[in-house]
Symmetry: C2
Subunit: 374 residues, 2 copies
């Protein structure tokens, strides 16, 4: 027993895991041993989900079955739509998602000790999260929710359910890549929370509900929302240099730069930077992408030697903005991607489970008493 | 950096905390330095909430103000009642509670960086949880929810909101003591989950929602439900000895006995054993309390020397049963009590916060590739 607390458990290993791997020095991220660049170029989010849950790349027919299962499970029950209709429209979509996931779990009998059930529940959750987010996003604007379209892939269908229009291929592709890039990232607060709650043998809807809660915290998800705010504040290309220099001279943090793990380029940002070029063509003179590129140049010139570079939030924020997605949907989209990682960690946790019950170091008094006349 | 994983983080300290203290060898539990026996005899759940949140016993006027704040915050918005009406009536009340808490959070603007807001939010959550549990418990039986009665204390009002009848004083008192006994218990999976989610600066409704999730797992909350099942299976006083002996000869676990921390009498069970005497008077020949006492005698005779005694779940299960509470409300009642501890830990976490981001030990492959014809 150690008597020293590591704040935030930094450096303390809480599990052996074979799901993802990060080399922060070299800027490498792998899922099940496959480099993220390779997956972004050759795979789809659906295939990555299979890879994370099952441990290896599916055969063609396995992938087809998996995609069919996802499609079949996209639709929400009428009862769930009814619940989403009653939610407060001004509330945050992350809270709406948490409520919708908890409420959906009430319709199922859970059998957490059965690996077959666990796998099916994982498919249900991955399939339904986008439908929940899209339904709330429309209902709060007094628009009718749109039923999933089985002819569309996971990312394209999500965009379709938001707008009712089939998205152009580049938009669907770039969102698909964003989902791949956000699917897992070793241990972090939401994944850890999924493992802690999962270790009590709580049902998977409850597990995901808790992880959504952790992701909703501004120290975890949410950085990409603030990137958009930064770019909007800057406003024009000419304003980039004075704005950023003033902020950095005042030692303020620039949103979307630096990462706790990556001391070189965030490999996810590198992938998105490449894809953003396609979108850049349609950017006006003071377009958000041009401003962002200039921000990156200015910041990297000053901080790159210190290992501080644009991170995935910087690029996902501006890509989502360019796709006309509402800013408060950015973190729910993170959840739509990361749910695959949470569930892979949940499955892994249950293979060799032990309930998390750490220790505390008591720092208070002893022997206080209350005595009072009765 | 240690390279060894402690399963379940057993023995690993994750925080310094001045909220509660357990001595498992001596069978001692203290809140803020005050022995649980002392609190059970001299305090109320409301006062214990103040003690846990604020760190010391309130003055008479501080307690009065605190009780008023709790009373004022008991009522649910119409919008929340409407949501509870839409929840699936056959679902588990813990999932309903999770959904209701998440949905309620959507009505508020959260300012987690403001200690004043944090304290008020804690009061709101402690006040509203019983109303949510009672509302769902009635609505699922097609009964109208009952508005809180401000003339009643926290425990009595909960029983009133379940039935519409003011409870007899002994019933209200014993539930109040049960709430006191379950209010905090150092680090455990739900409290830890509250700290992990809280460390992301997520809002307090989200934090509590996640902790409810962890408590819902059968390895955490829920043991007292299974105690009732055991007593029902035994059925008669004469059947106790053969039933228990057969189960123990087969090396099966007897629900409600033994505790990970207490190697002697669980001090909470000791308090409840004393209070159950009052209820025992109204017990028939084969009443559940008489059967329970006999079970305790038989098990303790065989296992007491090994440090295995009746725990708090054993007694709370049968007390709740004797109070005619529905079995699947036992864990929600645990949540109604423990929310005070979760929030005290949340407040403590935020005083000196660092996001939980532990490490994993990667156990998978490297250098796998996908290459396929486009």
């Amino acid at each position: 027993m150690s008597g020293v607390v590591a704040p935030g458990l930094e450096g303390v290993p809480i599990a052996e895991s074979g799901i993802s791997f990060v080399d922060g020095e070299k800027g490498v991220l792998e899922y099940r041993g496959i480099n993220i660049d390779n997956l972004a170029a050759e795979s789809t989010f659906e295939e990555v989900c299979y890879l994370l849950l099952k441990g290896s790349v599916p055969s063609e027919s396995q992938l087809k079955d998996f995609e069919s299962h996802l499609c079949e499970n996209r639709k929400l029950r009428d009862g769930v739509i009814k619940i989403i209709r009653t939610l407060e429209p001004t509330g945050h979509p992350m809270d709406a998602l948490q409520a919708a996931v908890a409420a959906t779990g009430m319709f199922f009998k859970h059998n957490v000790s059965d690996p077959g059930y666990r796998y099916l529940a994982a498919i249900q959750l991955i399939a339904k999260l986008p439908t929940m987010v899209a339904a709330f996003a429309r209902i709060r604007k007094e628009q009718e929710p749109i039923e999933p379209d089985h002819s569309l892939g996971h990312a394209a269908n999500f965009l379709y359910m938001l707008t009712g229009e089939k998205p152009p291929e580049p938009a669907a592709h770039i969102l698909d890549v964003c989902l791949i890039l956000h699917a897992d990232h070793t241990m972090n607060a939401s994944t850890f929370s999924a493992r802690v709650v999962g270790s009590t043998l709580a049902d998977p809807f409850t597990v995901v509900c808790s992880a959504i809660g952790a992701l909703s915290g501004p120290l975890h998800g949410g950085a990409n929302e603030r990137v958009v705010k930064l770019l909007q504040e800057i406003g024009t290309l000419d304003n980039v240099e004075p704005y950023i220099n003033a902020k950095m001279d005042a030692k303020e943090k620039i949103m979307g730069f630096g990462h706790r793990v990556y001391k070189t380029n965030d490999p996810r940002a590198t992938v998105l930077r490449g894809l953003a070029d396609e979108l850049l063509k349609s950017d006006g003179d003071n377009g958000v992408l041009k401003i962002a590129r200039r921000v990156e140049e200015v910041v990297t010139a000053r901080l790159g030697t210190k290992g501080i570079y644009a991170n995935v939030d910087f690029y996902s924020g501006l890509v989502y903005n360019k796709l006309d997605l509402e800013t408060d949907l950015f973190t729910p989209i993170f959840a739509i991607a990361r749910v695959s990682g949470w569930l892979a960690h949940w499955l892994e946790q249950l293979e060799d489970n032990r309930i998390y019950r750490p220790r505390q170091i008591y720092s208070g008094e002893h022997g206080v008493t209350i005595a009072r006349p009765k």
